[in-house]
């Protein structure tokens, strides 16, 4: 399939969902719907925090906005995570490590740039040592503004990411052989 064909499928989520053949006895579904359900139901995020956003990230796993409700738990190893939450300022020295961590994650993988620093450099835009937005070094799926964003905002971002993942074509996020 060509590059254009891939894009067309992922941008138009209008699949024909067949009606239930025997109501109540069988559930008809599409491959996309089926596989996406598993993916968005269990987003394991990586514990990666470089600045004050990390404190809010910890809060998000806490009692008030309990990320575990959505099946999101933290993993400490990038090999087992689905979501890289870049929480905090990325300096040029750290940029190599971020790229390495991103490369170590198995597909399908997602990135949320959390906080002003990760989205655009934030407070440190003029600094000689700060990357102005983590999208300069790795692809970013979602930007989350705020300095730092509240746990509710991060929670909202995860829900939005789930909606995003629900509309995907399952093969888009798989390494082509």
């Amino acid at each position: 399939m060509s590059e254009d064909g891939d894009k067309k499928i992922s941008s138009s989520p209008k699949y024909i969902i067949p009606p239930n053949i025997i109501p109540g006895a069988a559930v008809a579904t599409t491959t996309d719907h089926f596989i996406n359900w598993f993916r968005y139901s269990s987003i394991w995020y990586m514990l990666f925090a470089t600045a004050c956003c990390g404190i809010e990230l910890m809060q998000t796993g806490g009692p008030r906005t309990d990320l575990d409700r959505f099946g999101s738990v933290f993993r400490t190893s990038p090999r087992q995570s689905d979501l890289l939450l870049v929480a905090g300022t990325i300096t040029y020295k750290m940029a190599d490590r971020v790229r390495l961590l991103y490369a170590q994650m198995p597909l399908p993988k997602y990135v949320i740039a959390m906080g002003s620093c990760a989205t655009c450099g934030g407070l440190f835009t003029q600094s000689y040592s700060v990357v102005n937005g983590v999208d300069k070094i790795i692809p970013v799926d979602m930007y989350l503004p705020g300095c730092p964003p509240r746990p509710e905002a991060l929670n909202h971002a995860i829900i939005k990411l789930q909606e995003w993942m629900r509309r995907e074509h399952w093969a888009d996020k798989i390494r082509k052989a």
Binding site: F38, P63, D66, G71, S77, R79, Q80, P106, L107, P108
Partner: protein
């Protein structure tokens, strides 16, 4: 047609040959095929059981953890989040299969299966009910100790093959920890073996009775202590949290499974949660009377036939499962309540405290067996005192829980604007 009153899968296969095919199992040429079918049947049943146990128990654990941490836990995936384990499992199966470039590839692929077979091998001798056991080996407990050692080999292989310093640290730690804690486990099991006079798991259960004062835990003070020592050591053997040094995420990244992703990581997770059942089953069969039904002797179960026989089997399985679930729940609570030990504390707990205490228990049990007549008046008095002591421990547990609840009850609505207690059928 004769009635099947045998103990394990081998006797079931012999019954099939004798009574369904009307052949002599010793001379029939297709005996091996029936044996093979019996083995395959036992393996499939055990694998299905452990899969259905290890999955949902992760959900139970996460909900319990949520309750303990005043969170909610997974409640979006399926009704009340019960399908969470399915989503986690299948997502991991569908994830990319990564093997690091510098890893020792054959060993890296092999390690999860070693760990898994070390875990799954124990199900050969673990009974599920009165006659529900894959093979009632004469050397059951010895086999149990031997086959779990394969887990150590697997974890060390995983740590070494990953070619990562954190994984190697985790692997070496797990080897040190698991090999050390096998010693107190073996001694605590020896207490039971001395009391029974047999290594077979079914014989151990049959040496006990259905009522709490007939269990080994209430036999004398030394078995009472040995029960807690075995539970503690089993938690260490299963890498549960007070002892989860091999995967301490604050020190090592994720321990021996740092470089594992996708399906291979799933094997490690599976082993960890299936270990909960094994832990509970070993403790239950050794000290808590196993599947013994109160007031019904094993001879009565063997003598029954037809649907009565099936009913007794199911009832014994239900009793066994209830006891195991109780132990599993305690282990889960301990995991989310206690902080992690340091490495030196872990080793000193084992070698300075658990091993000497289990040795004292062995000596004590030998002494009691020599001087106290089984079924005599002294024996009965000791058993009653130990039963009351055990009941006191359980009552203390509930009183403490009630005290904590009353302490927090008034503060709680101020935080969440809702009542602290909610009924189990209306969880948030």
């Amino acid at each position: 047609m004769d009635r099947w009153d045998g103990g394990d899968m081998k006797e079931l296969a012999e019954w099939v040959i004798r009574d369904l095919f009307s052949k002599n199992p010793d001379t029939w040429q297709y005996t091996w095929a029936i044996y093979l079918a019996g083995m395959a049947l036992a393996a499939v049943i055990c694998l299905g059981f452990v899969a259905v146990f290890a999955g949902p128990v992760t959900w139970v654990e996460r909900r319990t953890a949520g309750r303990i941490m005043s969170r909610i836990g997974p409640n979006r995936v399926g009704p009340q989040g019960v399908l969470q384990w399915l989503a986690d499992g299948i997502k991991n199966l569908l994830k990319e299969d990564l093997i690091p470039d510098d890893a020792d590839k054959p060993l890296f692929r092999l390690a999860p299966y070693l760990v898994f077979s070390g875990m799954f091998g124990t199900f050969v001798v673990l009974p599920f009910g009165a006659n529900l056991i894959a093979a009632d080996l004469d050397i059951g407990v010895l086999y149990l100790m031997a086959v779990t050692t394969l887990v150590v080999v697997g974890l060390l292989t995983a740590g070494w093959a990953s070619n990562s310093k954190w994984a190697l640290y985790g692997g070496i730690r797990s080897a040190a920890q698991l090999v050390s804690y096998e010693v107190p486990i073996a001694f605590a099991l020896l207490v039971v073996v001395i009391s029974t006079g047999s290594l077979s798991t079914q014989a151990i259960i049959k040496a006990q009775g259905g009522w709490p004062w007939q269990w080994f835990v209430a036999k004398n003070p030394f078995t009472f202590i040995a029960f807690f020592l075995l539970l503690t050591s089993a938690m260490a053997e299963g890498n549960r949290i007070p002892f989860d040094l091999p995967e301490a995420e604050s020190e090592l990244v994720a321990g021996y499974n740092t470089e594992y992703s996708g399906m291979r990581f799933l094997f490690f997770l599976f082993e960890e949660w299936a270990n909960l059942w094994i832990m509970g089953a070993i403790t239950t069969l050794c000290f808590l009377g196993g599947w013994q039904i109160p007031g019904v002797s094993p001879e009565k179960i063997s003598a029954s036939s037809g649907w009565t026989f099936v009913g007794w089997q199911l009832l014994s399985f239900a009793i066994f499962a209830a006891k195991v679930s109780w132990i599993v729940f305690i282990v889960i609570q301990a995991r989310w309540t206690l902080p992690r030990l340091r490495v030196d504390q872990l080793m000193s707990t084992c070698w300075k405290y658990l091993v000497p205490m289990t040795l004292v228990c062995i000596a004590g049990v030998l002494f009691m067996d020599l001087y106290i007549v089984q079924g005599g008046i002294t024996d009965k008095i000791i058993r009653w005192i130990m039963t009351l002591l055990g009941a006191a421990v359980i009552v203390l547990f509930f009183l403490r829980a009630r005290y904590n609840y009353k302490m927090d009850k008034d503060k709680y609505p101020g935080l969440r604007n809702e009542k602290m207690w909610y009924p189990p059928y209306r969880m948030p």
